[in-house]
């Protein structure tokens, strides 16, 4: 039995040739908790769409992959007018810790992992993590000091070379 609007099942175009070979490079340059997530979320989303994704951690973004800091990034109201709170409040003792724990709870409530686990998920999804050579040298850090999934400490030119043709995000 057929009806007039019955048709063979359409098939979603999961393998659109237009996106084949698409590459994304994300430069993470910030070490605040709130600024760590945009890069991680976008990388995760890109990988889920089959896009080859490389992240480069540089300057303050190095804190995102350094073992001693990556689980302890902070969020502060200071200098961030988007909290819409009096700036003076942000300078009171304990305010950064309070703001950080509130943000961490909000993130966890959405089932979004903490930074170290998020990095693991990105690598499990096929993503690549690269550490900036200059940042490592400035902080006297070696690969042993970094998240175990970091593929290597490379120069800015190496990163530019290996992301040839990629779309780029600077965060």
């Amino acid at each position: 039995m057929t009806t007039t609007d019955t048709a063979p099942a359409p098939v979603p175009s999961f393998d659109d040739p237009g996106t084949e070979g698409r590459k994304l490079a994300i430069i993470c340059s910030k070490g605040n908790l709130d600024m760590a997530y945009p890069g991680l979320i976008l990388a995760n989303a890109a990988l889920g769409e089959g896009v080859e994704t490389h992240l480069f951690f540089t300057f303050w973004g190095f804190d995102m992959i350094t073992r001693s800091t990556m689980g302890d990034l902070k969020f502060t109201m200071l200098g961030n007018t988007a909290t819409h709170m009096p700036q003076g409040l942000g300078g009171l003792p304990g305010m950064t810790a309070l703001a950080t724990s509130k943000m961490k709870k909000a993130i966890a409530d959405l089932d979004v992992p903490e930074v170290p686990e998020f990095l693991e998920q990105i690598v499990a999804s096929g993503g690549h993590l690269w550490a900036c050579r200059l940042s490592a040298d400035m902080n006297h850090l070696t690969e042993e000091d970094l998240h175990e999934e970091v593929e290597g400490i490379i120069s800015a030119s190496d990163f530019i070379e290996l992301t040839n043709g990629a779309q780029l995000l600077f965060i």
Partner: protein, 104 residues
């Protein structure tokens, strides 16, 4: 909304081809949908699809890749191996569920 036919089943789909009435799905149709996108279902695939169906029945939302990886016991890396390139969307499609809405 279109009524689609596949492998002797009739079901509602959106313009992309995702099923819009989860109750119209059964595993036989799931296997036919998988074949449409070049997947041959194995026990490992079914473990994931059954998790998605059960989770949807409980929450009313399609699990994101992160949620499947964290709760089904199947690691994210394996999800990419089972449903290559776009695992979250492919899993939802085979399970007869809407695309996941969550960002992570």
């Amino acid at each position: 909304m279109t009524i689609a036919t596949l492998a002797g089943h009739e079901f509602h789909v959106n313009e992309e081809g995702f099923m819009t009435v989860p109750a119209e799905w059964d595993e036989e149709l799931g296997a036919a949908l998988a074949a449409q996108i070049g997947l041959e279902m194995t026990d490992a695939h079914w473990e994931v699809i059954r998790f998605l169906r059960a989770d949807f029945a409980e929450t009313g939302e399609t699990a994101t890749l992160r949620r499947v990886g964290a709760r089904s016991g199947v690691p994210v890396k394996q999800l990419f191996a089972l449903f290559p390139q776009k695992p979250a969307k492919k899993m939802a499609y085979v399970a007869g569920l809407p695309k996941p809405h969550g960002c992570v």
